[in-house]
């Protein structure tokens, strides 16, 4: 009790110095709270951008991308003859063979489902990937480009397609104006694993999601629907089949986007790719397992390319990323400088206080106070100042964080297209533009979005901040206390004689 009442009375007696020390520590600690809150806010903003496409950081996308050789063929991969054959069937010359479209002067409409950028594979591979260690679940999907060619057969007819050319060329004298080409990307999704699908129920902005085992239902991308004046309840045609539009979906920034989504089995059937998929969404059991799972997948599925949340995060750019880099570099430096400055201020003021109290502390030593009691007294007072500084710092930090939240600062997050040939430019109205390979495979929604910057402060951060201030007080008090303890009472009291 004597210790406490003495410490309290001393802090009150030196109000100005106590307040100055507390302010010094408080500003340092407040800066720590504010910088960390900002950093947490930036993390949240980035998560907000990534969340729709990365779930909780455990999702991966598996594809088998193909590179095109200089001659226009597909090369580079160690593909088996069977796979090469499959690829030729899916994407090789002849898939748009209009040679048999009809006699000159006749009208025709022909839809072909093509793929080129990614090789499809047996849907059984999905089960193999799902069985890997660290994999929670996996779902296959099939993304194709539905190319609908319509028009009148020209006088000279159509020439057969040449090797390296994706489509048939009109014959001599043919009029290009007589042929319309409509391209639409379509993805078949496993509706029984909606949360893993390229389009998820959370992305539905109007209507509903595909029902499991649905007949001919489709979900249409909002941008595509706007462009073609499609609404829920309308129908879209895939080949000769009409699908009822049951919902509209907003493609997430950086996510894989198609114009139309239908049930996987339906697309496999109408595109002639029964039992084939060309993309697998894999969910790991936890974020830490992702690197190992990605490696295992690449070892299991030949020529597999695994895109993880980290890969996607690297493609996020804009002021959000700039701010995050700034926070990581300048924020950390600022925090260290502020803390060191605060600790130094506290230590110097405490040492100065000890100097001013030489006679008082000398008297206590003359009365027989042992060194440890003198150290405890000085340190205790300093720790109390630290606690006060910590509370002050917490208040400053919370205030600064609240100010950031109230200012409603917006940061831009942009997503760059993935490697490979891409269409560049903004979409209609500045919205996202669909970037993809030459045939719409592996489409990625590129563009930018704004996120509001917050600065969340959690209790742990506040406790750590207060702890830092108390530590500062302890260090300062320790230095001051040891100096006081080393005083010889005769020296301290010499001015009396």
């Amino acid at each position: 009790m004597v210790f406490l009442s003495y410490a309290w009375s001393e802090l009150r007696r030196r109000r100005g110095r106590t307040f100055l020390t507390a302010i010094g520590l408080g500003v340092g600690v407040g800066l720590v709270v504010a910088v960390n809150a900002l950093s947490a806010g930036l993390d949240e903003a980035q998560d907000q951008v990534l969340e729709p496409l990365t779930g909780v950081g455990t999702d991966m996308t598996v594809t088998r991308p193909l590179t095109r050789s200089e001659g226009g063929g597909f090369g580079g991969q160690n593909l088996s003859p069977k796979e090469r054959e499959q690829l030729r069937d899916e994407a090789g010359p002849g898939r748009l063979d209009l040679a048999g479209a009809g006699k000159p002067g006749e009208t025709f409409t022909r839809t072909n489902f093509v793929s080129a950028a990614q090789l499809s594979f047996d849907a059984d591979e999905v089960g193999r990937l799902a069985a890997l260690d660290g994999v929670a679940d996996a779902a296959g999907s099939l993304t194709l480009n539905a190319l609908t060619v319509s028009g009148t057969v020209p006088e000279g007819g159509f020439q057969p397609p040449q090797p390296g050319s994706p489509q048939a060329a009109p014959g001599p004298g043919a009029q290009r104006q007589s042929i319309d080409l409509d391209a639409m990307s379509v993805t078949g999704v496993d509706a029984s694993k909606a949360s893993l699908a390229p389009v998820t129920p959370s992305q539905i902005s109007d209507g509903r999601y595909l029902s499991e085992g649905s007949a001919r239902e489709a979900v249409v991308n909002v941008a595509y629907a706007r462009q073609h004046s499609i609404a829920v309840g309308d129908s879209v045609k895939l080949g000769s089949k009409a699908f009822e539009v049951v919902g509209l979906a907003q493609a997430p920034l950086g996510g894989t986007a198609s114009d139309v989504y239908v049930e996987l089995g339906r697309l496999q059937a109408i595109s002639g790719r029964k039992g084939r998929v060309n993309q697998v969404q894999v969910r790991a059991t936890d974020a830490d397992a992702v690197p190992a799972v990605a490696k295992a997948i690449e070892g299991t599925l030949e020529n597999a390319s695994v895109t993880t949340a980290a890969d996607l995060a690297q493609r996020i750019g804009g002021s959000l990323v700039d701010a995050k880099k700034l926070s990581a570099k300048l924020g950390t430096a600022l925090t260290i400088v502020a803390l060191v400055a605060a600790f130094l201020i506290a230590a110097l003021l405490t040492l100065s206080s000890v100097t001013k109290r030489v006679r008082e502390l000398g008297t206590l030593k003359a009365l027989g106070w042992p060194q440890r009691l003198v150290v405890r007294q000085v340190t205790g007072e300093s720790v109390a100042q630290g606690l006060l500084g910590g509370l002050l710092g917490a208040a400053i930090g919370v205030g600064a964080a609240a100010l950031v939240g109230a200012m409603g600062i917006t940061l831009e997050a942009s997503v760059a297209a993935a490697d490979g040939p891409r269409n560049q430019g903004a979409g209609p109205g500045g919205g996202p533009v669909i970037m993809g390979g030459p045939f719409g495979q592996g489409q990625v929604t590129s563009g930018s979005t704004d996120v509001v910057l917050g600065a969340p402060v959690d209790l742990t951060l506040l406790l750590i901040a207060i702890g830092l201030a108390v530590l500062g007080g302890l260090l300062a008090g320790g230095a001051g206390g040891l100096r006081a303890a080393r005083l010889r009472p005769a020296d301290a009291l010499r001015s009396i004689g």
């Binding site: 009442s5 009375s9 001393e10 006679r359 030593k365 009365l367 042992p370 009291l493 009396i496 004689g497």
Partner: protein, 228 residues
């Protein structure tokens, strides 16, 4: 009367080389238990340094200084601290009370290193303040007390640990004559009534007159010892 202090050729020097100053230059003195001794001398004569040596606040540079037969020069800081706490009481010219603590707390603070309950500590402080007739001033801060009252609080504080010797450095130096006489009377009463050894430093020969024995200090030397 057994010897409480024995000093033989005690020297205290400060500094080194050309800047070295000899504050006490070979003091020989024996202080008996229960004795009331006055050290008199002008300012700078070395009497305060001698008192600090007696009070175990410093170690002699040379010579032998024994308290109750224990050589103080060989004791460590911790042992000297314990000796001050358990056997020696100190009264200062400027009282040296802690300005933010009440009279009661100023006395109790001397008992802080002693393992005892807060209530017992408070009770002891009140008892001591009662002995110096300040029972009505327990809750007053030093700034609310007169000089004489402050010095009485300082004496109560010096007595808190039941010392065997009370060392007083110019205890009347900041007091008017009448108040100074009260303080000297109080010290005299403590010596006579309780057998407490008192060593008092003063430059005032009238104050020294109250002592059993007066030793004059000049230029760090004990020039003469005169019976009171």
């Amino acid at each position: 009367m057994s010897a409480l202090y024995e000093l033989h050729g005690v020297v205290k020097r400060y500094g080194s080389g050309d800047a070295q100053v000899t504050a006490v230059g070979g003091a020989d003195l024996i202080v008996g238990a229960g004795e009331f001794l006055a050290l008199v001398g002008p300012s700078g004569s070395g009497k305060t340094t001698l008192l600090q040596l007696l009070g175990a606040m410093d170690r002699p540079s040379a010579g032998r200084l024994a308290f109750e037969g224990r050589e103080l020069g060989g004791l460590g800081d911790g042992e000297l601290s314990r000796l001050r706490r358990e056997a020696i009481g100190f009264v200062f010219q400027q009282f040296n009370l802690i300005p933010t603590l009440t009279a009661e707390q100023n006395v109790a603070i001397a008992l802080a290193p002693v393992r005892m309950k807060a209530a017992a500590r408070r009770e002891r402080a009140r008892e001591l303040l009662g002995r110096v007739r300040l029972e009505h001033r327990l809750g007053n801060l030093p700034s609310q007390l007169s000089g004489g009252e402050q010095q009485r609080v300082a004496i109560a504080r010096a007595l808190a640990n039941r010392p065997r010797v009370l060392l007083a450095d110019e205890p009347t130096g900041n007091l008017d004559t009448a108040t100074g006489e009260e303080i000297v009377a109080l010290l005299r009463a403590l010596s006579a009534g309780e057998g407490l050894t008192v060593v008092l430093v003063t430059h005032d020969r009238a104050v020294a007159g109250a002592a059993d024995r007066v030793v004059e200090v000049r230029d760090g030397l004990l020039l003469e010892a005169v019976g009171a």
